[in-house]
């Protein structure tokens, strides 16, 4: 999910940085002090989740919790995803620094779509699963498309197959966390839906 440096053209990476920074300044404007704690906690959760690895389809994949970030943070998920990806790149070597903008757009779009899914009038468990699913499936689809354009990798089909399975796991994990939060601290979800 985290693209490394040296795969995509430099020009595309620089342009993506510009778009990502514009997105941060737009979606991160006027952050209230009360929001900051929640942003920090979700950033920490996403940061830690990326170290939960499991083998799948001849490669190693990890949890992302991007859907959960979208559910709890709404449109604020985008700057949080960018910041978390920056720390993951610097400390865990997950993804490159040059390609950080591309990764932020891919994953940020997934989290934003998850936020939109969470606002739908579906039952909690269904929309939580769908939010977790699209939070991974959309970044994977964007990444596979970029690989296809750059002429890199094992092909769109292989990437899509691997990450569809990851998206299903993400959906299940997100459903579990949302049901847990609903019982323990429903205010977090109520505030997110507002």
């Amino acid at each position: 999910m985290h693209i490394a440096d040296g795969i995509l053209p430099v020009g595309a990476c620089v342009a993506a940085h510009g778009i990502a920074l514009a997105g941060i300044s737009w979606l991160g404007r006027r952050i209230a002090a009360e929001e900051v704690v929640r942003l920090g906690l979700i950033s920490s959760a996403v940061f830690v989740a990326s170290t939960v690895h499991f083998p799948l389809g001849g490669t190693s994949v990890h949890l992302g919790l991007y859907g959960l970030a979208g559910i709890i943070l709404g449109h604020r998920c985008f700057p949080v995803i960018f910041t978390t990806l920056l720390f993951q790149s610097l400390l865990l070597q997950h993804g490159g620094l040059l390609v950080l903008g591309v990764n932020a757009i891919n994953i940020g779009c997934g989290a934003l779509c998850a936020a939109m899914v969470w606002r739908s009038p579906l039952p909690d468990s269904v929309r939580a699963f769908l939010a977790g699913f699209v939070g991974t499936a959309i970044p994977a689809a964007l990444m596979a498309t970029e690989f296809q354009i750059a002429g890199y990798g094992r092909g769109f089909g292989v990437v899509a197959m691997v990450y569809l399975a990851v998206a299903a796991i993400e959906g299940a994990v997100t459903t579990f966390i949302v049901s847990f939060l609903r019982r323990v601290r429903p205010a977090v979800l109520a505030r997110a839906a507002a």
Partner: protein
């Protein structure tokens, strides 16, 4: 007279290009050096290796380097099959008795240390942002009449 001489010359050329493999050990790793008659290195020749427990699935494959060398680290003791083929008609299969190679320390920072560092940085950044956002501007306080009284 010329024909036997020609055959003799070709045989000499063939012998001169015999592919041979020698083995060395270093810290449990097996270094295979492939050369033509021990002089000219068999550079970029295709190599496949089979472990003692599985004769069908390759343990490793690749190519020799520019000097004809190929290094592998056995993960179990026993007889290993090393096959080198320059894809120009020269092929050698060599059996190597090897023990388990010692694991090489990577010197990488443990993941838990990176995690703690990352969480500390995120927590610190959030704290700084919270401090900045929660700082209210200094507004003039309204003066109540009761305060004016001595």
């Amino acid at each position: 007279v010329r024909l036997p001489l020609l055959f003799l010359l070709l045989a000499q050329v063939s012998l001169a290009h015999d592919l041979s493999v020698t083995e060395q050990r270093a810290a449990g790793a097996v270094i295979m050096t492939c050369s033509y008659s021990g002089t000219e290195p068999a550079a970029y020749a295709a190599v496949v290796i089979f472990g003692p427990s599985d004769a069908k699935t390759e343990f490793q494959n690749g190519r020799t380097d520019a000097r004809g060398r190929f290094v592998f680290l056995p993960d179990q003791a026993g007889e290993w099959r090393f096959i080198v083929d320059d894809e120009l008609g020269h092929r050698v299969e060599k059996r190597v008795m090897a023990g388990v190679a010692a694991s090489v320390p990577t010197g990488a920072q443990p993941v838990w240390q990176k995690l703690v560092l990352g969480l500390a940085v995120i927590g610190g950044a959030s704290g700084i942002l919270y401090g900045m956002k929660s700082r209210r501007p200094n507004r003039p306080q309204p003066i109540s009449e009761s305060d004016d009284r001595p």
